[in-house]
Symmetry: C2
Subunit: 139 residues, 2 copies
C-alpha cells in the first residue's frame, strides 16, 4: 500500500523528471507493466520501456509547468500547461500507483471548442484560473 505522502513524492517526480527529460529517472518511477492510455484517440502504450520511448520521442521543443497536483492514497490527478513556442495546451493526467510504482497513466488533452448557444444570459467571457489554453486566433 502506497501512502498519500509516498504517492505525492512519486507523482511530483513523474512531472519533474518529464520536465527535465531525465528519462532514466522517469522510467524508474514506472511499473514494468505500466499501462498508458489516451481515451481521446483510443491509444494505449504498454510497458515501461515503451512508455519511456514514447515520451523520449515526443516531438517538439515542449515545456511543461504543473498547475495542479491532487493526491489521494494510490491515485493522483495532475494538470500541466504544455507549451511549444506560442502554442499552449493543457494536459490532464490521472495516475494510479501500485507498490510504490506508477501502474497506470491516463492522459487527456482537451482542445478549445466554440461555446454552444443558449446560455449567453449566464455567461461572462474569459477565465481566471491556472489553465493556459491557446484559442484559435489568439489566447
Amino acid at each position: 500500500m502506497t501512502s498519500t505522502e509516498q504517492s505525492r513524492v512519486i507523482a511530483r517526480q513523474y512531472f519533474e523528471t518529464m520536465a527535465a527529460r531525465d528519462w532514466d529517472s522517469f522510467g524508474a518511477l514506472l511499473a514494468e507493466d505500466v499501462v498508458y492510455e489516451l481515451p481521446q484517440t483510443a491509444e494505449r502504450v504498454t510497458g515501461r520501456d515503451r512508455l519511456v520511448q514514447f515520451n523520449r520521442e515526443y516531438p517538439g521543443d515542449w515545456r511543461i509547468d504543473v498547475s495542479r497536483l491532487i493526491v489521494d492514497g494510490e491515485t493522483a490527478a495532475g494538470t500541466m500547461n504544455f507549451t511549444v513556442g506560442d502554442d499552449e495546451m493543457v494536459g490532464l493526467v490521472y495516475l494510479e500507483l501500485t507498490g510504490g510504482l506508477i501502474s497506470r497513466v491516463t492522459d487527456f488533452w482537451p482542445e478549445p471548442y466554440d461555446a454552444p448557444p443558449g446560455r449567453e444570459h449566464l455567461i461572462e467571457q474569459g477565465v481566471s484560473g491556472v489553465d493556459r489554453l491557446s484559442r484559435p486566433g489568439g489566447s
Copy 2:
C-alpha cells in the same frame, strides 16, 4: 480549513445532487461567489444562483456516473461519464473548497481526435480504463 474528509463528503455530494437534479441541495454546497469556468470555451459563470441555473437549464436527458474522485485537502478532482442517449462524453472536474463550500469549479470536456502519425510502433489500439468516450463512427 476544510479537511480532506470534509472535502470528500462535499465533493461526493456535488456529483450526487447533480445526478439527482436536486438543485436546492446542489446550491447549498456552493459559496455565494462561486466561480465556474470552462477553459475550452473561455466561459465563466459567477455566483451560486447563476451556476444552479446553468446546471438546471443544461439541455438533454443526460445521466452522469462518477468514475474517479481524488480528494486532497481543499481540492478535489472528479471525473464522470456523461451519457445522453447513445452519446458518451467524459467530464473532468476540478473543485476548490473554502470554508466548507465549493468556491471554484473548473470543467473540461475533452473530445475525440485522430491519433497523430509517427508513433504507431509504440501504440496498441483501444483503451481499458474507466472513461467512456464515444468515437465518431462507433464507440
